[in-house]
């Protein structure tokens, strides 16, 4: 938390009041230029945007991220760490928590297997490609609905997105392989 806004903090107070003024102007524009039926639609779309993002999008991404990588706070285990202590360190992870037999623990522990850096690079690649997809997937959908003339949405967006994911997948495999070799050498 931060210091609360106090009336003596003139700059911040003025900014907040100016901000509220702009918001009010925006609301005034909505009320005067958007028809009543449309205002209801607008309200539904605003609510849907928040619900879809906060209630669906983020939880799904969170679960996917945990399945693939585990929680982000996990520190890098010492290279000298035995697989037994690594198991302890990773005990809380979703996959590890499935009580796999000890023999398989080394495999389920991605950090020990590939090294932290290789995993971080892979995750960054996947995050970037997913963010790009957030823009392109609606485009592919819109293209599927059909365009009014051939100069609108003329590209092979699905093909290009597949190529992008192919490049990301190939780069991830390379990075993970390098990480795997480096981690083995450290042991």
């Amino acid at each position: 938390m931060r210091p609360p806004l106090r009336s003596r903090d003139i700059t911040r107070t003025a900014l907040v009041i100016a901000g509220i003024g702009f918001v009010a102007y925006g609301a005034f524009l909505v009320l005067t230029t958007v028809g009543t039926a449309s205002i209801v639609g607008l309200g539904l779309w605003l609510a849907a945007a928040v619900i879809v993002h906060d209630g669906v999008f983020v939880p799904v991404v969170t679960v996917l991220g945990r399945i693939l990588f585990g929680p982000r706070t996990a520190p890098e285990p010492d290279s000298a760490m035995t697989s037994e202590s690594a198991e302890h360190a990773r005990g809380h992870r979703i996959l590890a928590a499935r009580r796999r037999p000890p023999v398989r623990n080394a495999l389920s522990d991605r950090t020990a297997l590939f090294g932290h850096r290789a995993l971080a690079v892979t995750r960054a690649l996947l995050v970037a490609a997913s963010l790009v997809s957030a823009v392109v997937v609606p485009e592919i959908w819109a293209q599927g609905r059909g365009a009014a003339n051939p100069t609108i949405l003329p590209g092979d967006y699905a093909g290009n997105l597949l190529v992008l994911w192919g490049v990301v997948a190939a780069a991830s495999v390379i990075v993970l392989t390098i990480g795997l070799i480096a981690a083995r050498r450290r042991r």
């Binding site: 925006g26 958007v34 051939p150």
Partner: protein, 454 residues
């Protein structure tokens, strides 16, 4: 209990990092969400930095500030260029606009859409970094806090919707039950206002995390904590004594830092990729990388993309009618110009881009008569405000207005030809308006009348 292992005299970030690493090594379950109540979680909630370090090395004020700055920049670019575009289309009576450079609107609207597209990864990342704060407990601590959270909700909802409909609009996917332009414009003001308030509320956090975490010195750490951690709730001030750097396991700090940097790099890469792979729709320079642009530079009949075809505007018969004449009305007199009469006048050839509100643009070589010549021939002062009406009976933008600064400009043409050929029917045959520095929706096609309105 693992919490007993918490060391007592460390600066906040390190304290929590160490704490989490201890839990980690003991295989203890960590708190999974911010609103979990444990005896010392009250303390954790009062300190933003503590909160973030406990749960996710990426979710924290430093990440939020770094992404917030970029998002603030793209939002300001969008707002400024959006206001420009808005007033070009709906000018107040006293407004005059520069007509040079001719590519001005191509640039401003290209920036508008590029910055909007870059904002998508940035906004998603920004919301990701602060998501746990949605569940802050107690949800409201004071009237001011309620105001802050309310305005944050307004900011989040309107930003999400603004970008959603903006992106869908450039894909021609009009799924919403309201007018795009009025809502996109009104939401822009709501966003700017709530963003201003958000910055004001967060100013101390922004200032504290503007630069990356400085190396911990005794004074700094103590000042940092006392400056920042005086929330409305009673505060448990953390005593921060100096700790030698080597007393905290270096790899844990490094890991958290590198996670954060990797996250920021991926978000930056996504924003650059989204812009780089679409900007080729508005500039020949990048057209080789146009993987995802909704338009293709130089595509379409006569090397120019089309928004509304002649068929869609329902002008196939009226535009092809040999009896077509352009009516010019002013001072109570009506002058008629047939296409051959226009062709017989002084012709100019100019390179002027068609720049759409959707951000795509293509430069083209137009041939035709200067509007000011036609006005002079009709006994009208070229410095007049004009209303141009199209033959089209279907779809919007059948009527446009033109300020005197555009009417009198030597680049403003009644175009009859395009790229060396007679104008294609889809580009406005028999005649269309083309003027420098204006949105494509004002470059009225299939014109039938030009009248003086002031």
């Amino acid at each position: 209990m693992p919490r007993r292992h918490t060391p007592g005299h460390l600066p906040n970030d390190r304290l929590t990092e160490l704490r989490s690493s201890v839990r980690e090594r003991l295989g203890a379950p960590r708190p999974q969400s911010v609103h979990e109540h444990t005896p010392d979680s009250t303390h954790e909630q009062t300190t933003y930095s503590a909160q973030k370090q406990t749960h996710d090395s990426v979710r924290g004020p430093r990440t939020a500030v770094v992404i917030g700055r970029l998002l603030g920049l793209t939002f300001v670019l969008c707002f400024a260029t959006g206001i420009w575009s808005h007033y070009l289309q709906d000018p107040l009576p006293w407004m005059r606009f520069p007509t040079r450079p001719a590519v001005l609107y191509q640039v401003t609207q290209g920036v508008h859409v590029a910055a909007g597209l870059a904002s998508v990864p940035l906004l998603l990342a920004k919301l990701w970094t602060v998501y746990p704060r949605l569940f802050t407990w107690p949800p409201i601590t004071s009237a001011i806090h309620a105001l802050e959270r309310g305005l944050t909700g307004v900011l989040v909802a309107s930003s999400l919707l603004e970008l959603t409909i903006g992106v869908m609009n450039i894909y021609h996917w009009y799924a919403w039950p309201f007018s795009f332009r009025t809502v996109h414009y009104a939401l822009a003001w709501v966003i700017v206002g709530s963003l201003l308030a958000h910055i004001a509320f967060q100013l101390p956090t922004i200032r504290q995390h503007w630069r990356s975490r400085p190396s911990p010195r005794r004074g700094d750490a103590a000042v940092d904590v006392s400056e920042v951690d005086t929330g409305p709730a009673p505060i448990d001030r953390v005593q921060t004594d100096h700790v030698p750097a080597d007393s905290v396991p270096a790899d844990h700090v490094r890991t958290a830092g590198s996670d954060r940097r990797a996250f920021l790099a991926s978000v930056a890469a996504a924003s650059v990729a989204v812009v780089g792979f679409t900007a080729g729709q508005s500039t020949r320079f990048l057209s080789a990388f146009n993987l995802f642009g909704p338009r293709r530079y130089g595509d379409g009949p006569q090397g120019l993309p089309v928004n509304r075809t002649a068929a869609a505007a329902d002008v196939l018969t009226t535009a092809a009618d040999p009896a077509w004449t352009l009516e010019v009305r002013g001072n109570g007199i009506v002058h008629g110009f047939s296409r051959s009469e226009l062709e017989a006048m002084d012709q100019s050839t100019e390179d002027i881009p068609i720049a759409c509100v959707e951000g795509w643009s293509t430069s083209a070589r137009w041939t035709g008569v200067r509007v000011r010549d036609v006005l002079t021939r009709s006994g009208i002062d070229p410095h007049s405000r004009l209303r141009v009406t199209s033959l089209q009976t279907r779809g919007g933008y059948a009527v446009s207005e033109m300020g005197p600064e555009f009417a009198a400009d030597e680049l403003t043409l009644i175009a009859l030809g395009l790229n060396g050929e007679p104008l294609d029917l889809d580009h406005g045959y028999p005649a269309r308006i083309i003027a420098p520095g204006r949105p494509g929706v004002l470059q009225t096609k299939w014109i039938s009348t030009i009248e003086v309105i002031g």
